[in-house]
């Protein structure tokens, strides 16, 4: 049974994600520049970049296989779908029953596998280096992410994201220490997964430290555009999941189409604040050495496990 409001909300959510994701990226970059006393690029700079890249010719390596060519589409598809699953505007989403929190982590993993395979496909040194680093991070970040989602699931007795948000948002306000700890862990994981400072610096091509940039070094033209857009979508999806789990207010319930109208400004506001916070985090932290990254993610995992344990002990 798919209600037309649900369908509308779903389409709106994906469309909004596709449209807003580069804006969020631009917003974070702008704040980062301001905080670092630099002149900020325009808020619309990511759109311009995407536009430029889509109009460029895409150059492929001679020995690139079809995998190299389809990878950007798969990655982009995964991220768009993830944005569709995450309850950004409404909890009444037709796609939500198809995929729960675990499937969401699976989607991210799928994208990661493809981009890593593609990076190794051409056989350049940087590509395999980036792939290795990406897998290292993924292998440590995914369990932590799962643990975070589990602590939320334990509270609400469901792994469906929509149900989690529904339960958290529409019951009487309560303090969940376990969620607070899980929130910190989630922040750690998000930083690592989205290649932000202190794990990676999205603004450099320094070979010793880069992770994300090393992966996509061989891409150009529309392929690169898709990947960059997917990266923005990933940040958007993570932000939305974080907001949904830890600040679930303002998300519309099922069957209240008007509430969606209020949900949009609420979401934009929350994302704006979140973006500023991200910029602050990126400014006050220095990028850590690559060898410290496992420690960083282990800490995230540890926090998530503490959250689980605390929930079991306190029931809250």
């Amino acid at each position: 049974m798919v209600s037309w409001t649900g369908l509308l909300a779903q389409i709106l959510a994906i469309a909004l994600a596709l449209a807003l994701a580069p804006l969020l990226m631009g917003w974070v970059n702008q704040w980062r520049a301001w905080l670092q006393n630099r002149r900020a690029p325009s808020l619309l700079q990511p759109y311009r970049t995407l536009h430029k890249l889509f109009h460029k010719e895409s150059v492929l390596a001679e020995n690139a296989s079809p995998l190299f060519r389809i990878a950007p589409y798969i990655v982009f598809g995964c991220m768009a779908l993830a944005c569709g699953i995450a309850p950004t505007l409404s909890t009444d989403l037709p796609l939500a029953p198809a995929a729960d929190a675990i499937a969401l982590v699976g989607l991210f993993a799928l994208a990661r596998v493809f981009i890593s395979l593609a990076a190794m496909d051409v056989g350049t040194a940087f590509g395999s280096l980036g792939a290795r680093r990406e897998m290292l991070i993924g292998f440590l970040a995914e369990p932590a992410l799962l643990m975070v989602l589990f602590s939320a699931s334990l509270i609400t007795q469901s792994t469906s994201l929509a149900r989690i948000v529904e339960t958290l948002a529409h019951q009487s306000f309560a303090i969940y220490p376990s969620l607070a700890v899980a929130g910190v862990a989630f922040t750690f994981v998000s930083l690592a997964e989205n290649a932000r400072v202190p794990v990676d610096n999205p603004a450099t091509h320094l070979e010793l430290t880069m992770i994300h940039e090393a992966l996509i070094l061989e891409y150009s033209g529309r392929h690169l555009a898709l990947i960059e857009w997917a990266a923005a979508l990933k940040l958007f999806a993570y932000s939305c999941i974080g907001l949904a789990l830890f600040f679930p207010w303002g998300v519309a319930e099922a069957g209240t189409p008007l509430a969606i109208l209020f949900a949009i400004p609420a979401l934009v506001l929350k994302l704006a604040v979140g973006g500023v916070l991200l910029a602050v985090i990126e400014t006050i932290n220095a990028k850590m050495r690559l060898f410290r990254v496992p420690e960083f993610l282990a800490t995230a995992f540890l926090l998530a496990v503490i959250a689980l344990l605390v929930h079991v002990l306190l029931g809250a």
């Binding site: 282990a298 800490t299 605390v310 002990l313």
Partner: protein, 219 residues
């Protein structure tokens, strides 16, 4: 409102636990002292909330005592000690942090298991916190075992005392005041003596590394 306040006790309890973990993983002595101060502050906050909720007035006294001792006096003393010993910027090489963390997790599970049957019996508003207090204690204990330098060992000792104090406050709404005073006095004297010791050790070994203190062994 009252129930929200009661829930903040759990929040502070978790803060204590997370801080205890942070101490295990912290390499810098200076940051360790900051973490200890924070832990003391969380303890004060929790004590105040319990005092407000239970109406036990002597707990306010205990909160003031904790504040003076653990947020002001002892951190100031520790700062002076590390200044005078010139170890302010010391960074300790730790043996395998992830392994230590895993052991820590196991300890937390043990503590929660031990405390679970008791938590269900306690009538106090913050009964679940007994397990957390015990976990903090065991974690500080772990910290004392894995640390090789004198100052971190002492901080581990003090943070264990924080866990104990939290157990007394949260699980039983405070021990009798005279006992708390006695305990606070003992802690204060203890830290003074440890301070004296650190200078003596330094004088004798030219270092605060406890690994020098391994001559007395069964061979």
């Amino acid at each position: 409102m009252e129930s929200l306040l009661a829930q903040t006790i759990n929040l502070f309890a978790v803060a204590l636990l997370v801080l205890a973990f942070a101490m295990i993983a912290q390499r810098r002595i200076l940051t360790l002292i900051h973490l200890y101060t924070l832990q003391g502050a969380a303890l004060v906050a929790a004590t105040l909330v319990v005092a407000h909720l239970t109406g036990q007035h002597h707990l306010y006294g205990s909160a003031i005592l904790t504040f003076v001792l653990k947020v002001v006096l002892i951190p100031v003393m520790l700062h002076r000690v590390i200044d005078r010993l010139n170890v302010r910027w010391d960074v300790e090489t730790l043996f395998n942090i992830p392994t230590t963390m895993l052991i820590g997790i196991v300890l937390v599970i043990v503590a929660f298991n031990l405390a679970a049957p008791i938590a269900s019996l306690s009538a106090s508003i913050a009964r679940g916190t007994l397990g957390i207090a015990l976990a903090c204690m065991l974690l500080s204990f772990l910290m004392m075992i894995v640390r090789a330098k004198a100052v971190p060992q002492v901080i581990g000792f003090l943070s264990m005392e924080n866990g104990l104090f939290f157990a007394a406050t949260a699980a039983t709404a405070g021990m009798p005041m005279i006992v708390e005073l006695g305990i606070a006095f003992d802690v204060l004297v203890g830290i003074l003596i440890l301070g004296v010791f650190m200078f003596q050790i330094r004088e004798q070994f030219d270092s605060l590394d406890i690994r020098h203190l391994e001559r007395l062994k069964e061979d």
